[in-house]
Symmetry: C2
Subunit: 201 residues, 2 copies
DNA sequence: ACAAAATTGGACCTGCAAGTCCAAAACCCG
DNA sequence: CGGGTTTTGGACTTGCAGGTCCAATTTTGT
């Protein structure tokens, strides 16, 4: 049913999604009109509705998925290799560097509020992203526990949840303050408290 | 210049802001039309533009301010009295209870994304809220340091920044998951790490 | 090469929500 | 009471962005 895209079709579709994503990152979801996407990607209105029959909502959903995947990809290979304290720090540095460069342009900020409430699918995308993210962190915590670098008393999932919350909040605060201070503080203090756990226990 | 509101005028204006705020909390910023506000508050279009000459944007700004003030008020008197561990826990419980009840209806969620990018004023409102919030927490940390319940080695502002980030992230995750798990984990682990600081130091 | 199917361009339609305008009513104050 | 001002109601205008439609063109498969 959905199998009707030629090579060229796939390419066009991908170009539209990527272009729309860039446009949204740059100017915010609710500032981007279909016409902007057309201008920016060189696509016609016919193309837009050919590849996204349900219009803007469907396009936004595709963009959300695209951006969600990117968020985790940008943390690799560090995120999947949290096997030593230097590795944790490398991941920490990558995160901060990445968000510092990105500044106010958070890809998912608007997508949560904008599509999140109305589109049930967008909610699922964000939830899925957070779930994968938290699991990757929890895996890292468990690995450190296996090597004795983190106390076995620590609840890995709970610690990962707290760390993820700190990251999300840090990014949110970056959006309004323009500074990465909160992100850094949350990461550093939470990670430090994990390190301390092995010494006190 | 702005001084031209009779008693009745003030009342009407306040009624519009409160009604619009409720409406937005309930259904999200971008789902609320001026007509919805009119219906919900019993105000006419003439009134809306009489009290908010710059239209929707100005109204949204007033709503944002109203909601921002409310966020801190809802944490009182706990937030201003973080002078003992039981007091911290009471504050923690109040926060969780409040957000659990509120669920997905975060007053400022959309206001950040929606007006945040375009209206420079909304940005300022949110920043101001975060600043006041963080300061209140930092004051609590400093008080606990003065009584020796928290190690003097702790950087109060940095700790407050991390805690605030955890809260914001926890709320954000509440919005997409519907669970308060992250908020609880972030609060508990961060506060526990502050408690631990006095014992290890 | 040719028919069927996918792709593309762009003119056109439509609905809606913000914003305008003005005249009627209520209100304030000497 | 009476003139000026604020407050109120609601009809009307306007612009625009999403969505529709279809005909022209290219691609695909045999």
């Amino acid at each position: 049913m959905t199998r009707a895209l030629t090579r060229k079709g796939e390419a066009t579709r991908a170009r539209i999604v990527a272009g729309a994503a860039a446009e949204i990152r740059e100017r915010g979801v609710d500032e981007v009109r279909l016409e902007d996407v057309m201008a920016h990607t060189g696509a016609s209105k016919g193309q837009l509705f050919h590849y996204f029959p349900d219009g803007k909502e469907e396009l936004l959903l595709a963009v959300a998925q695209h951006e969600a995947d990117q968020v985790l990809l940008d943390q690799e290979p560090m995120l999947s290799n949290l096997t030593s304290w230097p590795a944790w720090l490398a991941w920490r540095d990558r995160l901060i560097e990445r968000y510092r460069a990105q500044g106010v342009k958070c890809p998912l900020n608007g997508l949560l509020g904008q599509t999140g409430r109305r589109a049930p699918g967008a909610q699922a995308i964000v939830t899925g992203l957070m779930w994968r993210w938290q699991n990757a962190i929890a895996d890292g915590v468990r690995h450190m526990q296996s090597t004795g670098d983190i106390s076995a008393d620590v609840d890995a999932d709970r610690a990962a949840a707290a760390l993820l919350a700190g990251i999300q909040g840090g990014v949110l605060l970056l959006l309004s303050t323009g500074k990465t201070d909160h992100l850094e503080a949350a990461l550093d203090l939470t990670i430090d408290s994990l390190r301390a756990s092995s010494r006190t226990a």
